[in-house]
């Protein structure tokens, strides 16, 4: 645990340094780098890294994650060492604007309103992950057991962006392909929660024609 905390601090400090020394170019995308953590319901904690890219004008974002029990349940324990390599795509939906439309309410906000702030920082992002799973059984006795699998998992992500540079996400996902005793990898469980904390390393700047909401 101590190791993880130290790695996290070093990581965030390095990100901040990269951000502060990077040349001020007018990027048209936001790039977040962060730490993420996954808890399979009934099994392991897996921790790792996350990279997220979002074009300024687009509601879609793309990312890649690496999660492993080596940085989670398998630290100093006999838990199975397993790795998840994922790429994903999100679609950003502003939850509060949907509710408002449903209730047919109309309200004008100014950007200094607290309500405005909350409503534009919390988003609901349906996500689809695709990837590769590997489990290390560490003995030839188990050579006949399957230890790799394709990963396909829809995920419901709640995202909260604050202090402009930090994004906190929590999500619930379902691995469509999971072990069932005859097929799939036994330690690949279907349901999981995931948490991530990301830091903006490159910020997209407003370009002509963009509205505030785009950013």
């Amino acid at each position: 645990m101590k190791k993880i905390i130290i790695i996290s601090i070093v990581f965030l400090v390095s990100c901040n340094m990269v951000y502060s020394i990077s040349p001020r170019v007018h990027y048209t995308y936001d790039l977040f780098v962060g730490l993420n953590s996954k808890k399979s319901i009934g099994l392991y904690w897996e921790n790792g890294f996350d990279l997220n890219y979002q074009k300024i004008k687009s509601k879609f974002s793309f990312g890649a994650s690496y999660l492993t029990s080596r940085l989670g349940s398998a630290i100093y324990s006999n838990a199975i060492k397993q790795d998840n390599f994922l790429v994903y795509s999100d679609y950003e939906i502003n939850i509060f604007s949907i509710i408002e439309n449903e209730d047919k309410k109309e309200k004008v906000y100014t950007s200094t309103d607290f309500e405005y702030y909350i409503k534009h920082k919390i988003t609901f992002n349906p996500r689809l992950n695709i990837g590769y799973f590997y489990s290390d059984y560490e003995s030839e006795i188990f050579d006949e057991l399957r230890n790799t699998s394709l990963l396909v998992s829809p995920e419901l992500v709640f995202s909260y962006r604050f202090l402009d540079k930090i994004k906190l996400q929590s999500s619930f996902g379902y691995n469509i392909l999971h072990g069932d005793g005859s097929n799939g990898v036994g330690t690949l469980y279907p349901f999981y929660f995931r948490f991530s904390l990301s830091y903006l390393i490159y910020k997209g700047f407003k370009v002509d024609g963009d509205t505030d909401e785009d950013i």
């Binding site: 319901i41 006999n78 036994g186």
Partner: protein, 314 residues
């Protein structure tokens, strides 16, 4: 408002489903109050502690096998081992206790109200009675859920030096049905789970599995998995695990966790993966299609047991 209405409707539907949580029980099945496990009617035929109250020196030199069945099963699961022992004149060296887990072999209601501590109590009772009468060469053999129950006792150092060996058949540490992991949420909505049984099995297995017992099972296997993650020391006990390569109840990866997590004075325990798709492949009676390979697999385990107890692998 619409979201609130959908949420309220969902809660109401869930409540209605959870109300119809009692199954219709066939009076000729294990779930009914009419049928009891044979070991409750004739305990002396099943338990050494009910058979030998004042053991002789000759009795005390024999090995006693305590056989533990799995979740929702009965002593029937180990009847074929008794037959094997009797047919091979192995009974001159070995005595067999077929323990009926607490809460099992009785009615659905009894099963529903039992906890895994109740299931485990029968193993402790038989072990305590045997050791108090002087038996010192005890072997444990468990199938499916019997295995984590035994391992949990090893972890709490319940067994002293009297247990010499332990054989685990298709141990469940990771369930094949991963839905067990959400039993706390889905269980109250479902009430119970009905399973398919082959002809004749309804007298020896529960057809209906109350979610309360599935919750107990889930708690037990999570507890033992964590014990394995932290090293489960069995001391001077010889242990061997046999695990089917395909299994619809206990995921084969359970064997990996045992291989990594159990440590003994002899180092790593022995694990053998068996080319079978049966859960508890040592029980073949009442199975519809038994192949020659299935019989060979069963004999292999029984032969290893006899080899061990005839002193070759002491």
């Amino acid at each position: 408002m619409k979201i609130f209405k959908i949420f309220t409707s969902f809660l109401l539907i869930s409540l209605l489903i959870s109300c119809s949580s009692e199954p219709e029980i066939d009076p000729n099945s294990m779930d009914s109050i009419e049928i009891l496990d044979s070991s409750l009617l004739n305990p002396a035929n099943y338990l050494v502690s009910e058979q030998i109250f004042f053991p002789t020196e000759e009795d005390l030199n024999k090995n006693v096998i305590i056989a533990v069945h799995g979740y929702s099963a009965t002593t029937f699961e180990w009847d074929e081992l008794r037959t094997y022992i009797n047919n091979n004149l192995f009974n001159e060296n070995v005595l067999l206790s077929q323990v009926l887990l607490g809460g099992h072999g009785r009615s659905y209601k009894d099963f529903k109200s039992s906890t895994y501590h109740d299931w485990q109590q029968s193993i402790k009772d038989e072990y305590d009675k045997l050791t108090s009468r002087g038996f010192k060469n005890i072997t444990l053999i468990g199938s499916s859920t019997g295995c984590p129950l035994i391992l949990d006792l090893f972890n709490s150092n319940y067994f002293g030096d009297n247990v010499k060996a332990c054989f685990l058949i298709d141990p469940i540490i990771i369930p094949s049905s991963k839905l067990l992991s959400i039993v706390n949420v889905a269980g109250p909505l479902l009430g119970y789970v009905e399973i398919d049984l082959d002809e004749g099995e309804e007298k020896y297995w529960y057809r209906y599995r109350p979610y309360q017992t599935l919750k107990e099972l889930n708690n037990l296997i999570i507890k033992v998995r964590k014990q394995l993650e932290d090293d489960l020391n069995i001391g001077n006990v010889y242990m061997k695990v046999f695990k089917s390569l395909k299994d619809n109840a206990a995921d084969p990866v359970s064997a990996v966790l045992l291989h990594k997590g159990v440590i003994s004075s002899f180092g790593k325990i022995e694990v053998e993966m068996i080319d079978s798709d049966l859960h508890v492949f040592t029980r073949l009676d009442l199975r519809p299609d038994v192949s020659d390979k299935d019989r060979q697999n069963q004999q292999k385990v029984f032969n290893e047991l006899s080899t061990y107890h005839l002193g070759i692998k002491q």
